[in-house]
Amino acid sequence: MARFVMEFERPLVELEEKLAELKRLDIAATPDLADEIAGLETEIEKLRETLYSALSPWEKVQVSRHPGRPKTQDYVETLFEDVVELHGDRSFGDDEAIMTALATLDGRRCMVIGHRKGKNTKENIKRNFGSPHPEGFRKARRAMKLAEKFGLPIVTLIDTQGAFPGLEAEQRGQAWAIAENLATLAALRTPIVVVGIGEGGSGGALAIGFGDHLIMLENAYYSVITPEACASIIFKDATRAPEAAPCLAMTADDLLRLGIADEIVPEPRGGAHREPATVFASVARVVSEALRQLTEMPLDELVEERYRRLGAIGVYNEQ
């Protein structure tokens, strides 16, 4: 399978290909070659360092969308044990763009709710590329209420470009379903840990995307609007997304600075897809720790604190 190359990686990939070509040559026949290979290897290492050490917001968006990036399903399968998936919203259908499951992390029983993108085209069609319809949000809400009823803490995994913008989604009350979830999450009497693992697209992300502790992967984004949609509004040109991305304060660093995210999980150089196992281990550790702390809090205090934190978000002038 051909390797997926992100736009900004191209110069590096060219060098890597050249190196591979050189290595195929007969070194014995051309003595200079060894030096050239060594030189190229140093150059590649340098380029890797500069390329990946300070990704721009738009580059991070590309990393967050990398097809090999670990998805909700991977996290659930790797981090959790005794997984019992729950299906359906009890009203319309089962939206596979959202996964809800009873699952155990580090011996702690929880409810997991996540946007579920597919690994390939076939899966993505079934899962609508992780973009939920109202029944997906209602399925999530059902899981939230269930968790509250039986005292299970909630772990949500955010990875969506947004709520699906379609005719039937609107007809069935996309906005209503999202709003209901926001109201439910705000007052839910159980701890909620949110992990931004990839894309955090607007209201569709927020509908399962806030709680008591927000963890962002280094290259995950969370935004009021996708950079493409923003560019198509302000520049009337979606291809100018790279210019829009830095304006939206959507990276993990931005969220931490704005007091919206609580911590950042570093990714291996180049992105989570390079070494998923490292990322799984880090996420398991921080989620576990957050759950441990939150489950010690009395519920009244927990919800009060959630309200206080939400109420404090925003910058305005007051006379």
Binding site: A163, A249, G314, Y316
Partner: protein
Amino acid sequence: MPIYDWFKAREGRNYTTTSASAPGELPDGVWVKCPSCKHTLYKGDLDRVGDVCPHCGHHFDIDAPRRIALLVDEGTFEETEAGLTSVDPLRFNAAKPYTESLAKAREASGLPEGIITGRALICGHPVVLGVMDFRFIAGSMGSALGEKVARAFRLAGHERRAVVILTRSGGARMQEGMLSLMQMAKTAAEAERLARARLPYISVLANPTMGGVTASFATLADVIFAEPGALIGFAGQRVIEQTIRQSLPKNFRSAEYFEECGMVDAVVPRSELRERIGVVLDYLAGSSVADATESVARGIAAEGGDR
């Protein structure tokens, strides 16, 4: 309109040929053409009926101050949080600086922010009223607007008032990035707190109500009214067309469409809105069950925030 009100309104009818109070988005002048049925209308008459075309019922756009005048018992509106305004926290500057958009919006609307909130009486019921103005950066919700909505809910909680909010918005204000998105959660949280305090909340979805406003406080009301012909929804029209690669049916996502879908309680003409709200509040604000507030806000602090 009761006949007494009609006579009263008639007294104030203005026959001068200049526009005294330039109402909203209507062009200045004595005569106005209805964009829907093309009838030429005398503006004095239009003012008197809340800017609704007497021939086809087309609801003209009107601004927030005028809407407030049409909704509340005369002389009862008392504005709150008028000094709470937007700043430019992200130094947003793509295509044009956010500060410029804000300055323009203030100039065009004469308002400090995209929503006016305050205490008022509606048909004798004490309410906290919020009315959005589309001229202010398309009524978009940033930090200041979200905070004003949140405080309106909290004020109602403190003073045991009902909340009435009329929405007109393109959605979240992208110039404030994630701070804007989080206002959806903040306002929804306060709507939920009001609900747990068993205080009534009525929303009126006017043209247009879209995106992050529809997907937060606007649709969390106990009773949802919509103004005739209002466009309501989540995603933008063009985004949907591009996604599903077909053009959308006429009237898709109009107030009437959503009434049919079961998403709003009723489409209410502007002329009847005040009284309909009054009647609903007669039912909801006068709780006859003694312990209705007993289980209030289990787990959420009964008091509002610390501001």
